[in-house]
């Protein structure tokens, strides 16, 4: 099943002239071993008519193909991948997410006999509040219903049908989605891994005796000898132990070469058909050279005196398999973050069906179900609390360690843990629409995305294999011709320069042609670029997974890669640096007044006001437990404030202009008022009976606890911090000062639509800019920035905006995201060093013949190269943010 979505992102291939809606499909591809395989699959699929993009991620073993469904289809892509010699498996991907506010359910209706029955059911349902569509399929005896889950639940729908004289149950259908596709891929991967493990064990079981007979002196004599004696006594005749040894080695190595090593021949053949090369080509060439030379010296009498190298080919295959096995294990661990997230989901839910509470598997919960959650149970799906109250631990998704109070009307998130209370809630998001499912999908997408740096590896891999084969041939020819000319036909190893001792020794004992062949084999095998293909995707996998663990959703490899280059960061003020909610910060009382009295008057008036600052006053009064009396004659005076009669007194509440109008003297407080205003606070004055000032209340949007720490740390790591706001300069500078942002980095009085321009200005002077905003008002600026960082809060994650989404409202995560990006890029660079360093260093070493005594060591080195790259990426799992987490 393919993901059907319109693709707006740039693709690798040229876009067709007509702007048709493109389809994107994700296909699991088995059998890819190195970056060259990636190139083969991408090229093969990319060449298909109608395909506009094909991107393979080696670490996740997935191909993402973008194509015009009118020209190409998934079957053609699958066939193309298959023809290239790989094992494609289309993944079931998430169905397009429906609107969160629309519930859909299909009920099986029992008892309908004719068309009139279906009309009754449809009408009955249509009369229910919240039901927007009810369509009966008489043949299936089902009714498909669309409804507003906030108005009616599934139980209500069933009751209504029962009321009309029929019976109804929820029809269970298989949920199509990414998880099932992933499961199928995981299953296939597990199967492939088990097969590979078995192959490796056989290979090892055959190679170890082979190695012993070939290389370990007591055994290389005694085993063939014993067999020769046994043959002489049973079959008769005379047996040459050396020849018998060759036969044993032939028997042991042949299954390794052709059964266990068949995959290399298959891969090599497929790449040969496409006139390309890959790891399989190199292994096939290297091992075949060793194997067939040995076969010749075993069975062609004229060559029987020559040595054999069966152990070289078998051990090469064994070590390459070992490397692949260790790599697969390590790759599995790189995807732990996703498994951990998946493991969070509850398995069952207790729902009310037919008036009874029943436990059902979570897959069967539908939008609109009433779900019961008892103390200590997991919240199974997302929803809105109907009844009861409790505290819910949401730390697994948001990282917030303090349980969140939940009362009727509050939203709850699936996979979070209910604490002590019990409550019921209406399911509003189930299956693939839940916050957890979306986070998983986001992380999966990010892990499967290709970072721009990967293109570097792809370019190298494309030319590497032909280069290596050429280099190996050149090496062989060089030693074949130049060896005897430089060192003599039968060189004295002791007389040559120490670096050439091994090849001189090989030439002295076996002759130059064989010595040259062994060197050529070592070059072919040691140069395989398979580690190169893993350098980037494994690091991206671990990096994005680690981000998810810290509540940082990095949406693509691109964002992860760009984040490390950030040189300037622009914070939106309201809701990002600050709480976004004004609170009472200062209270100044006039003589003879007290806080309760003043707040009683001010809050009573503000209760009727719609001004945003009023909320702060009322909230403070409520917090102090102040009873608010009724107001008579309430009036809002635009631009001034409000007035009314409270407890028989005429009260005015507003700014200086209002006080002036009322002729209330405030000059005694002028100094304090100015000081408070200089701090970016809004000062409101309370006048009583039109003559006296009761006091003043300062309200301000306060800085979040961690903003200062985050800004300080960002500055320390060399990132320039800016603040952008629509507020006036004075208020903005006051907040900036508290946050530790330099006053010349304050971009004040910027209208939301101009925020993107300010970001562009910074980019124009060469800065790599990140914009941090709430993801809704700041969308253009987030899009303009090199990296858009959207601040989310719990379920309201603005997932569509920005390259990085912070689940928590904690600015320290911005620092963590940059640090994680830097660590990941460092890992990628290290991986390139490990992958290319091996080749760069070992090709010359192999070419000068230092591996001549043990050409199979090239296989060991190759395996070690891949394993070291994956292991290095796994070290990223130890990443720790530099800023301490909030104490629990």
């Amino acid at each position: 099943m393919e993901t059907m979505k319109t693709n707006n992102e740039p693709v690798n291939m040229p876009m067709p002239p007509a702007a048709t809606a493109l389809t994107e499909s994700v296909i699991a591809v088995g059998g890819m071993t190195c970056a060259s395989c990636v190139a083969v699959v991408e090229k093969t699929v990319g060449k298909l008519p109608g395909v506009t993009g094909a991107t393979v991620n080696l670490a996740t073993e997935r191909l993402t193909a973008t194509y015009d469904p009118a020209v190409a289809d998934i079957a053609a892509i699958v066939a193309a991948v298959k023809s290239a010699g790989y094992e494609p498996m289309p993944l079931e991907a998430a169905a397009p997410a429906g609107s969160a506010s629309v519930g859909k359910v299909t009920l099986a209706v029992i008892g309908m006999t004719c068309a009139s029955c279906s009309a009754v059911v449809e009408k009955t349902l249509g009369k229910l509040a919240g039901v927007t569509l009810a369509s009966v399929n008489l043949a299936n005896e089902t009714v498909a219903i669309e409804f507003d889950p906030t108005l009616v639940g599934v139980d209500g729908l069933i009751s209504a049908i029962k009321g009309a004289g029929y019976d109804a149950i929820v029809k269970v259908e298989k949920v199509l989605g990414a998880t099932s596709g992933s499961d199928a891929q995981a299953e296939a991967q597990a199967k492939a891994y088990a097969h590979e493990k078995m192959m490796f064990r056989w290979s090892l079981a055959l190679s170890v005796p082979l190695f012993i007979i070939a290389m370990v002196p007591p055994f290389m004599e005694s085993i063939p000898m014993a067999l020769a004696e046994w043959l002489a006594s049973t079959v008769g005749g005379a047996w040459d132990p050396m020849q018998v040894g060759k036969y044993i080695m032939f028997a042991l190595s042949t299954p390794v070469q052709f059964i266990i090593g068949a995959r290399f021949y298959r891969g090599a053949w497929h790449s040969l058909k496409r006139m390309t090369g890959n790891m399989d080509s190199l292994i096939a060439i290297g091992t075949s050279a060793a194997y067939f030379f040995s076969v010749a010296t075993t069975f062609i009498p004229a060559l029987q005196m020559e040595p054999v190298f069966y152990e070289t080919s078998a051990l090469l295959i064994t070590f390459v398999l070992l490397g692949k096995l260790l790599e697969a294990r390590a790759k599995g661990r790189a995807g732990d973050a996703i498994k951990k997230l998946m493991g969070l989901a509850a398995k069952t839910a207790r729902v009310v069906r037919g008036g009874e509470e029943i436990d059902i598997p979570i897959e069967l919960v539908v939008t609109g179900d009433t779900v019961i959650v008892r103390p200590g149970e997991k919240v199974p799906v997302d929803g809105v609390v109907l009844d009861g109250h409790s505290a819910v631990d949401e730390s697994m998704l948001t990282g917030e360690s303090i349980p969140v109070e939940k009362n009727a009307g509050d939203t709850v998130i699936g996979a979070t843990m209910n604490k002590l209370g019990a409550f019921s809630f209406r399911a509003t998001k189930v299956g693939f629409d839940t916050a957890l499912a979306q986070i998983i999908r986001l992380v999966e997408d990010a892990q499967g995305s290709k970072a721009p740096v990967q293109r570097f590896a792809d370019r190298i891999s494309a030319v590497f294999v032909p280069f290596v084969i050429g280099a190996a041939l050149l090496t062989f020819v060089f030693w074949l011709l130049a060896g005897p000319a430089i060192f003599g036909a039968s060189p004295d190893p002791a007389a040559v320069f120490v670096l050439f001792e091994p090849i001189a020794m090989a030439a002295a004992t076996m002759g130059w042609p064989i010595a040259a062949l062994l060197v050529g084999i070592a070059v072919v095998v040691i140069a395989c670029p398979c580690a190169l293909g893993l350098a980037t995707p494994t690091a991206i996998m671990v990096g994005t997974g680690k981000g998810a663990e810290h509540g940082i959703l990095i949406k693509s490899g691109d964002a992860l890669e760009t984040a490390y280059k950030i040189s300037a960061i622009v914070f939106d003020k309201t809701g990002t640096l600050t709480h976004g909610k004004p609170v009472v910060t200062d209270i100044v009382l006039a003589d003879g007044h007290d806080v309760t009295r003043m707040f009683t008057m001010a809050a009573a008036l503000e209760r009727s006001s719609e001004h945003p600052l009023a909320e702060a006053i009322v909230a403070r009064a409520k917090a102090d437990g102040i009873e608010l009396p009724d107001v008579e004659g309430f009036a809002a005076i635009p631009g001034h404030g409000v007035e009314g009669t409270v407890n028989g007194m005429r009260v005015t509440f507003g700014n200086r202009k209002l006080m002036n109008r009322e002729q209330i003297e405030v000059s005694a407080y002028e100094q304090q008022i100015r000081e408070l205003e200089d701090q970016g606070k809004t000062v409101m004055l309370v006048g009583v009976n039109g003559s006296k000032l009761a006091g003043l209340i300062a309200v301000a949007d306060t800085l979040k606890d961690n903003s200062h720490e985050a800004v300080e740390r960002l500055t320390a790591i060399g990132v320039e911090v800016y603040m952008i706001t629509g507020d006036n300069g004075r208020t903005a500078r006051a907040i900036a000062e508290q946050a530790g942002i330099a006053s010349d980095h304050v971009l004040a009085e910027v209208l939301p639509e101009h925020k993107a321009e300010e970001v562009a200005k910074l980019q124009a002077v060469g800065k790599v800019v990140a914009m941090v905003g709430d993801g809704i008002n700041d969308t253009p600026a987030l899009a303009q920035a090199d990296v858009g960082i959207a601040m989310g809060a719990g379920t309201d994650v603005a997932m569509e905006t920005g390259g990085i989404v912070l689940i928590k409202n904690d600015l320290r995560d911005v620092v963590t995201a940059i640090e994680l990006s830097r660590s990941t890029m460092r890992k990628i660079r290290q991986n390139f060093f490990w992958a290319l360093g091996y080749n760069t260093v070992l090709i010359p070493i192999a070419a000068i013949g230092l591996l001549s005594p043990f050409p199979w060591m090239a296989g060991v080195a190759m395996a070690f190269s891949s394993v070291s790259v994956v292991t290095n990426s796994l070290l990223l799992r130890g990443f720790k943010p530099s800023l301490a987490r909030r104490a629990a």
């Binding site: 000898m225 002489a232 006594s233 008769g236 005379a238 040459d240 132990p241």
Partner: protein
């Protein structure tokens, strides 16, 4: 499993390095055959140094009776050669030439190189086609004193 595999890898590599340094000539460098397939019977003291009498010889394939000078217990220059057929041969006389030692070493070599051509070089004894037969881990050979 990973630890075991790594251990195995290190062990193999170590053995390879050691084995690479300790290769030496094997004890059995000819053709291994059973005692009832290859036998050599002759008098251990014989008279005269121009011929050697072999009472009976049994060979698993076409072979050679080869006579060497005794070079301090090791075979020296070859002084006699006689081709024999596969199976049993009796009452054979091997002509000798250039005998300079009191003792000679008589051995039975296979004829596996060019047929009828003795293809054995003591300097390349392990790779020469016409190598001797070995029975029970020892070369099928006898030392004969010539008087």
């Amino acid at each position: 499993m990973k630890t075991k595999l790594l251990f195995a890898f290190v062990l193999i590599a170590a053995v390879a390095l050691v084995s690479g340094c300790t290769a030496e000539t094997p004890k059995v460098w000819g053709y291994v055959t059973a005692a009832d397939s290859a036998q050599l019977e002759l008098a251990e003291e014989q008279t005269g140094n121009t011929s050697l009498a072999v009472d009976r010889v049994l060979a698993p394939e076409n072979a050679w009776i080869v006579v060497h000078l005794d070079d301090n217990g090791k075979p020296g220059d070859r002084v006699g050669l006689l081709a024999i057929e596969k199976g049993e041969s009796a009452d054979l006389t091997v002509p000798l030439e250039g005998v300079t030692t009191e003792k000679v070493i008589v051995a039975v070599h296979a004829d596996r190189g060019a047929e009828g051509e003795y293809d054995f070089n003591m300097m390349e004894k392990e790779t020469s086609p016409d190598r001797p037969f070995f029975v029970d881990g020892a070369e099928l050979a006898k030392v004969v004193t010539l008087k």
